[in-house]
Symmetry: C2
Subunit: 145 residues, 2 copies
């Protein structure tokens, strides 16, 4: 498996082990992971730290030039907010673990010039299917429904 997607899955697993929502992300620049993160709704009581946002936050302040060489890996299709963060910073490529349990505005993100690659990895899907089945209310809260 792609080692960066693997790192994102490790983040998702870490979130699950903490009692959180199992979604993970890593930001890669020039072949190196510069930020890692996972959903922090439960752990930090956060409404904004989805995995991708936590990852961008942990990568700390970067220049536009850095973001423009970056690829964001997420175990799950980015929601409207996380897609918006990708657009804000002009991140040119997103690799998505799966988009079967939830699918964000991928067509819109593509229309704004971002390369979107969907892997449909079974481990990513299994993590979410199991979590959603056991915690439907928490999951709905996370996606605003």
């Amino acid at each position: 498996m792609d080692k960066f997607l693997e790192a994102a899955i490790e983040e998702a697993q870490k979130g699950l082990d903490e009692g959180g929502i199992p979604i993970g992300a890593v930001l890669v620049i020039d072949g190196k992971i510069v930020g890692r993160g996972h959903n922090q709704r439960v752990q930090k009581g956060s409404a904004v730290l989805h995995a991708e946002m936590d990852c961008l936050e942990n990568a700390e302040r970067l220049s536009a030039g850095d973001y423009q060489r970056a690829t964001l890996y997420s175990t799950l299709s980015p929601c409207d907010m996380c897609s918006g963060a990708i657009l804000l910073y002009g991140i040119p490529k997103v690799v998505i673990g799966e988009n079967q349990t939830f699918c964000g505005p991928e067509a819109y993100v593509r229309s704004r010039g971002v390369e979107v690659e969907v892997i449909n990895n079974p481990k990513c899907r299994q993590l979410m299917e199991s979590f959603i089945q056991n915690n439907p209310e928490l999951w709905n809260e996370d996606i605003g429904v």
Copy 2:
């Protein structure tokens, strides 16, 4: 002036006084402010806590029903990320202090069913014009250019 926009401007001023980017926001539900925030790029070294995000984070975890009765006030037109957060949570109305110094994807946000009201308040504009003139690199970093 609208007391909620006034509260958002107070947040922007607080950010400026802290040495930060002068953008503020408040979240209002049923006529009460439930969250306040301002841009935290300088203060917390944050890449994700724009004023609107800081405000949503400070409002803590809310139900979908809460967000669906909310209005978000921001002194500046929300960027792609902040607009995405509005869409994620189904916030039905955004009141914008000004969109002259920066304009986010307002047409897209409207096309997704959100009411977008632009005030073009002189104080909001003056805060940003003065800040951008004195700190162009910091401002560019904040909007990913």
